[in-house]
């Protein structure tokens, strides 16, 4: 996947301005990254590392992460499922339920779902598994309405980048990608100074800078961080509401 270090993402700017907004997450945020299907010589990140370097800092930083009910049900790996469930039990992860909507709003939700599904492999009448999580999440987001969808799924991201989104109720929904959150976590010092920072760098490298082709297309971590700073550092400085940095937890 390509990282965009040229254009500012208004969704990320909005998140920088107010990190306490609700951020709906896609299933792939909970499933340990695994590129072994597409990259020879690579293998899945063990869940322990995935949790330590990715999930824990994410939950430490953002107070209103959320996940749609069907996405939880689709988490097959027991590690991912248990992690999500324990975060729900601790009150750190909001579950988005379609049953929250009253009958009038539910009509809107269904029409959004139908419109969004038309661009995916999901058929609401059949309730097939393909793309169901993304469609249900996006239909919920459009109905609420919420500002973001955080995903690592190319189909969902394509949909949120295409002009089509204007016609299916997603015109105000921005996509937040993993590399943007990696940058934010690093910039806000939301990880341990040593291992944690290296962990973010390694995740970046694993996802975006692993093959020869990616090394030609994407900047290395140092350049990436600098280029992202060029796009967002001033926004971060302007922002008054920042999450509490990791260092403060230690010092405090």
């Amino acid at each position: 996947m390509r990282v965009n270090v040229i254009d500012q993402n208004p969704a990320l700017v909005s998140l920088i301005n107010d990190y306490t907004q609700q951020i709906p997450l896609d299933a792939n945020f909970f499933i340990s990254f695994d590129r072994s299907n597409t990259v020879k010589g690579s293998f899945a990140i063990p869940f322990k590392s995935f949790q330590k370097f990715w999930l824990d800092p994410l939950f430490l930083t953002f107070p209103y992460l959320s996940i749609h009910r069907v996405v939880i049900n689709e988490l097959v790996s027991s590690d991912s499922r248990n992690y999500a469930q324990s975060r729900i039990d601790q009150g750190h992860l909001i579950v988005m339920e379609d049953s929250e909507f009253d009958s009038d709003t539910e009509i809107y939700r269904q029409s959004f779902e139908k419109a969004i599904a038309a661009h995916t492999a999901y058929e609401p009448e059949l309730d097939n598994a393909d793309d169901r999580g993304e469609v249900k999440s996006l239909a919920y987001i459009a109905t609420k309405p919420l500002n973001f969808f955080a995903s690592h799924d190319s189909r969902a991201l394509r949909l949120l980048e295409s002009p089509t989104k204007e016609t299916i109720g997603l015109s105000n929904v921005g996509a937040i990608e993993i590399y943007e959150l990696l940058y934010y976590l690093r910039r806000m010092e939301m990880v341990q100074p040593e291992d944690g920072v290296n962990g973010l760098k390694m995740i970046y490298k694993y996802l975006y800078y692993l093959t020869k082709k990616e090394k030609l297309e994407n900047p290395n971590w140092g350049e990436f961080y600098q280029l992202m700073d060029g796009l967002y550092a001033s926004e971060i400085q302007k922002s008054t509401g920042n999450p509490t940095p990791y260092r403060s937890f230690i010092d405090g």
């Binding site: 590129r35 990259v39 322990k48 190319s154 291992d195 694993y206």
Partner: protein, 288 residues
Amino acid sequence: MLTKEDLYTIEELAKEKRRVLELGMGPLGDNLFKVIRTLGIQLIQIPFLNEGEESDNPLAALYLSSKEEDGYSICYIGLNTTDYWDKQIFALAHELYHHFESSDPFVLCRGLDHSSDIRELKANRFAAEFLLPTEKLVHEVKEKNKGNQDLKGWPTNALLRLIAEIHCDYRLPFKAIVRRLQEVGAISKTVLENLLKIDARDHEGIYYTLGSNINLKAFQQLNTRTNLFGAEGENLGKLIENYEEGKVSLSELSDDLNLFGKSLDDYKLMEEADFDDDLALLFKEEED
């Protein structure tokens, strides 16, 4: 039953399609696959297991078309490859009728032999006509019968040799050829019924022996259940083009190929990890 008008219309349709597709009037055989590709129909082969009798086959083939927003439509034929090869060819030609004629975007065709549905009868008749045009059949008969179309008085063995020759050349299943012979008046209804009692697939039977001696390779192939799974190379090529044009990611392509029992490695598309830096931190936690 089909009316004379139905038969005429189907015959004309088959002729017209052969003309448009520049197929001439000769045997099509395996070129039918090329026709399918030329028409832009995506062929998906599925070995759909038949647990009952052959006549109860739950699926011979299906035709599916999907109209996209811009008016462009994508058409698919799903073909059950647990059928014998000649029946698969017949089923493909049968689905072509649905492609040409049906406004229904989804047509599921079960065993083709015993259908009484008028639309299915028409599709069967089209398949037979498309694979073996009436005038070619009449020509084949007259060639072997001193210019006569009526095979009255021919011994069964001679009839079976003629049918086997047509079978090998035109790739139409035995039963379909026998029915065609009756339709063009070459054999009587009684002879038809007697011929249909023959088990043409029985390796020890007279028909199989005669057929094997006419063209062993072709005859054996026609009587083989291919059990192939997947899409044709060209169709999968489209998936790869989508990746190369940046329309889908490598990971999506990998998932799509996987549906057809293929992997990125089969197309030398797997990228290689370039570990010039140490990713060990991510992976060492496993041992902790």
